[in-house]
């Protein structure tokens, strides 16, 4: 219940942003929501099931291209977004069947190459996808301000939906089973948890919202190309955000998204050429010193306060 109240209050507060913020702030908030979706999605497979997926970039690009191609064929935007989500979901389910028997590093590497594979497919099919030239999307005939508001609300709604799904899943039998798989997959199987279908479900959950986010992103920026939407950083950032916020927690991903975004805006803008190195540095520091995320620091302090009372 506490989770639902937190989610609704935060979302409602964010929803009032267009009343006070300028377009720059609105753009940042849209990216924040998009990041929150990517991180929350990764948390299903990486945080709950304990499978370090690097397939986020693949899902994002697949969603973006599916929606872009469909819209260029004349499908209405919203319908194209939904279809992109569905396509990504089915793709992840099929892909999961192929690579989820791998564990640890092997799974990570297998999931990493999926985006590269899709990128090559796009590059070699210029008739359908525009290839390396990229693909233009229909432009909405509304003012710039109205567009900014529109895509902000789209991303916010998606982040809301994704987090709501997380709240439901974490308390469900699926979430319980996934946590068991994360801690000890053999033991979970022995007790009758169908590890294979549970992992596939988690992997699909980690894909569907990312696919829709990619589709919204494509409509938002009006033009996509392979290096943009299959960017490897799209696969790395969710992991960083979740580690920052707290692995396997409901609001950790959103908090991590906020921290990463602030980091990007205030620091990386001054160190443009080495920002990827900075990202690597964060991962190393996090894994070494704060494997449970920044939230765990707060929680420890809180627990100590309560203990002192």
């Amino acid at each position: 219940m506490k989770n639902w109240i937190t989610l609704i209050v935060v979302a409602a507060m964010l929803a009032t942003l267009p009343l006070v913020g300028n377009n720059y702030l609105l753009r940042l908030a849209s990216i924040l929501c998009m990041y929150a979706v990517l991180a929350q999605s990764w948390n299903f497979i990486g945080g709950l099931a304990g499978y370090p997926s690097f397939a986020t970039a693949a899902f994002f690009g697949l969603g973006a291209y599916t929606s872009a191609i469909l819209q260029n064929q004349g499908l209405p935007m919203m319908l194209a977004w939904g279809t992109a989500g569905l396509t990504t979901l089915l793709f992840a389910a099929a892909l999961g069947g192929a690579i989820l028997h791998l564990r640890g590093h092997y799974f990570a590497i297998a999931s990493l190459i999926v985006a590269e594979m899709l990128r090559e497919i796009v590059n070699t099919t210029p008739n359908l996808t525009g290839g390396g030239m990229g693909l233009n999307l229909p432009i909405m005939r509304i003012s710039v301000e109205a567009q900014a508001r529109y895509f902000f609300y789209a991303m916010l709604s998606l982040a809301f939906l994704c987090t709501a799904t997380a709240i439901v899943v974490y308390r469900s039998k699926l979430g319980f089973g996934l946590r068991c798989i994360q801690q000890n997959e053999d033991a979970a199987s022995i007790l009758g948890v169908n590890a294979y279908s549970y992992k596939t479900a988690a992997f699909s959950l980690s894909a569907v919202f990312v696919g829709i986010a990619g589709a919204i992103y494509a409509s938002w920026v009006n033009y996509i190309e392979p290096p943009d939407v299959f960017d490897i950083l799209l696969a790395v950032k969710p992991l960083v955000m979740v580690l920052l916020g707290g692995l396997g927690t409901i609001f950790g991903p959103a908090i991590g998204a906020l921290i990463l975004l602030m980091f990007e805006e205030f620091v990386w803008r001054n160190f443009l050429t080495v920002h990827a190195a900075a990202l690597g540095l964060i991962i190393v520091v996090l894994v070494l010193f704060l494997p449970n995320g920044l939230l765990s620091l707060l929680r420890e302090r809180f627990a100590r306060l309560r203990g002192a009372r």
Binding site: S189, I190, L191, G192, N194
Partner: protein
């Protein structure tokens, strides 16, 4: 023919190109306590993994209550009344003892029955009741084994598979666990016990199988095996 809880016939299994089990045939009757003894790497754990569906055998058959289960998934073995207490305990170390025990009842729907069985496990191992809210990872080795056995019992099995009861545990703890297993067995649950500690295994069991290099080399009543000169020399270091 007498009814059999578990019947394994001509089982062959392995990992990749390495064949571990060769033509293993054995059975467990209802309520029986059977031991499988053998040295390290003899294939005992592999046999257990086949009997709980974790490993699909390459040939041969596994029947539970006269139903063929050779290709069945682990969940179906649990539903058929087989609970596996794996080697090395395999607890969910970041989850509470109570949650670990409740996970054992994962496939059950009868809330009342689960509550009754939970109390029964707590009564059998009072230390688990005392520490029910503690993380399983904080338990000592012996307590972890209690938790693992308790988790197995929570599935309400008619056959409990126990892989390495005594490994790494103090003799006093092994004694206590053995007593508990006897009590479980008396209550009607069949037990298939894999042990390296041959003396203890033969003391507990009604019957036993000796596995060597993936083959059953001897079998019979535990008492007569315990007195067999070959066994005494090979496994107990006694002449």
């Amino acid at each position: 023919m007498a009814p059999r809880k578990l019947a394994v016939a001509n089982l062959q299994a392995g990992y990749g190109d390495v064949q571990v089990l060769w033509d293993v045939t054995m059975e467990v009757g209802p309520g029986e306590l059977v031991s499988i003894i053998g040295s390290n790497g003899a294939g005992k754990t592999t046999l257990m993994r086949c009997i709980s569906g974790l490993l699909v055998p390459t040939a041969g058959s596994i029947e539970v209550d006269d139903k063929v289960m050779t290709q069945a998934a682990p969940a179906n073995f649990v539903r058929a009344g087989i609970a596996h207490v794996p080697e090395g305990r395999r607890l969910f170390s970041a989850m509470s003892i109570r949650d670990n025990l409740l996970m054992g009842a994962y496939l059950r729907r009868d809330k009342a029955g689960i509550a009754v069985d939970l109390e029964r496990v707590y009564a059998m191992f009072p230390i688990l009741a005392e520490r029910r809210w503690q993380d399983a990872g904080t338990l000592s080795g012996g307590e972890q084994q209690m938790c693992a056995i308790g988790r197995g019992l929570m599935a309400s099995p008619s056959l409990l598979l126990i892989d390495e009861l005594s490994l790494g545990l103090a003799p006093r703890v092994v004694e206590l666990l053995s007593e508990s297993l006897r009590a479980v067995n008396k209550s009607g649950v069949a037990i298939l016990l894999v042990e390296q500690d041959v003396m203890n295994a033969l003391e507990l069991a009604d019957r036993a199988y000796v596995i060597d290099h993936g083959r059953v080399t001897m079998s019979g009543p535990a008492m007569s095996l315990a007195n067999d000169p070959a066994i005494r020399e090979a496994y107990m270091g006694l002449a």
